[in-house]
């Protein structure tokens, strides 16, 4: 029973009974459970060996390094906590809020349309989920993929609509193409959208880069994408650095399929952080 408990295979009544017993402080059973957890963890080695991409390590190390820098950064000399300073920042804040209000009034229609389309897609997905629940183990994999897609869409909607998101316009560089728009939310991530985007040649892809503020800092590789047949693209970056304060700009380059650890071409779109 200890092994089944550590495995998470006990059905609720059995699980509750064992936990109630453990709560009495039975040291012998607690030790058995602790050893069973070790035994169960060994089952991980049954998984077929697979290797991560170099890009994952690049993204992870860039995030870790940027967080280290953020924590060790001194307080900016311009910052103040005096009453006079608070009054100045309060005024500035009110002005910024007014500007934001005007912006969101102008942007409301577009956001409504996106929400409507998103909700319709969610309803379609939910109907598909309901029918898929009656199918076999193979279908369960599809269900998981659909649920994952729904979670992704919810996250994208949150990023696009939350006033806390920062908007970044990425202008095309030396090519005839509309600008792209990125919304960066400190908690939920980044959503990049583009329309009428020229298709990269062959099987090449477009890759997003985070350009650090630090002089000489290396561009941080992020997601890759190819636009659809209509030239539309959407990228969701779930785990960007927690704060955009160390990032100077976003850039998009054309790269070989699978992406690159460092840019191999000049950026086609660039947008500075406001």
């Amino acid at each position: 029973m200890y092994e089944a408990y550590a495995l998470g295979a006990l059905d609720p009544p059995e699980r509750a009974a064992l936990e109630a017993h453990l709560a009495t402080g039975c040291a012998e059973c607690a030790k058995s459970v602790a050893e069973a957890r070790w035994l169960v963890s060994q089952l991980a080695y049954l998984a077929p060996e697979a290797s991560t991409s170099d890009m994952l390590k690049g993204r992870l190390m860039q995030t870790v390094r940027s967080e280290t820098k953020s924590e060790s950064s001194p307080v900016p000399t311009g910052a103040t906590t005096t009453p006079a300073g608070i009054s100045y920042w309060l005024s500035a804040g009110v002005a910024a809020l007014l500007l934001l209000t005007l912006y969101f009034a102008w942007d409301a229609h577009r956001v409504k349309e996106e929400l409507r389309a998103s909700n319709e897609q969610n309803q379609r997905n939910e109907q598909m989920v309901a029918s898929a629940q009656n199918e076999s183990a193979v279908t369960q994999q599809k269900l998981a993929a659909m649920e994952e897609q729904m979670a992704k869409m919810h996250r994208e909607t949150a990023i696009l609509t939350d006033p806390a998101s920062v908007k970044i316009m990425l202008a095309a560089q030396k090519i005839q193409a509309p600008q792209m728009v990125a919304m960066w939310h400190a908690k939920y991530g980044i959503v990049l959208t583009g329309q009428k985007v020229p298709m990269p040649s062959g099987n090449r892809v477009l890759q997003l880069w985070l350009i650090p503020k630090a002089p000489g800092g290396k561009a941080m590789p992020s997601m890759t994408v190819r636009p659809d047949a209509n030239g539309n693209l959407v990228i969701l970056v779930s785990n960007p650095p927690a704060s955009g304060s160390d990032t100077k700009a976003l850039a998009i380059t054309e790269e070989p399929a699978g992406g690159s650890a460092a840019p191999t071409t000049t950026p086609k779109w660039v947008g500075a952080m406001s």
């Binding site: 092994e3 998470g8 963890s41 060994q42 991980a44 080695y45 049954l46 060996e49 992870l60 979670a151």
Partner: protein, 195 residues
Amino acid sequence: MFLAAFSPKDDREASPDAALVRQLLQNDVGAFEKLYDKYCRIVYSLVLRIVQQSGPAEEVVQDVFLQLWRNSAQYDPARGPFVPWLLTLARNRALDTLRLKSERQRRLENQADELFSVVVAPQYEKELDEKRRAERVRSLVGELNPQQKRAIELAYFQGLSHSEIAAELKEPLGTVKSWIRNGLIRLKEGLHTAS
């Protein structure tokens, strides 16, 4: 907590992995990179086996290692070896991804409380490199009968309960329980004998 009474041996507390994790508390990026290089393969292999898709699998691996970096204080070497802790964390994160909004996910969320619970390696356990450990576990599980192996894999890699496995395999519940119990006991004995 009474569980803290099961402290591992002193040599395990002083293991190279525990030392590296302690260095994370000082924001040591080099120590983090060493831990990533050492364990990214087994963590990714496990997560990919569970979620089946490389993109989501990489996101889970990234979450796991970022949690290690941001919350390294949550790992207490005195409460057990590092690798089983890391693998337990990775498995639960991967199953969370696989089972969004389902009953199973709620059960696993409850299990999240166990993440930082005690894991005690048995006395016979020796430090092995990852390759030899994988060979040993695969060999032992490969000796189980196919149904027994399948039941254990459904529980471990898909997070299914006894009842769910019985329904999936169309076998009596008692049979499934016996398969899993006996299979894990044989694995335990095999690991003991092989050490």
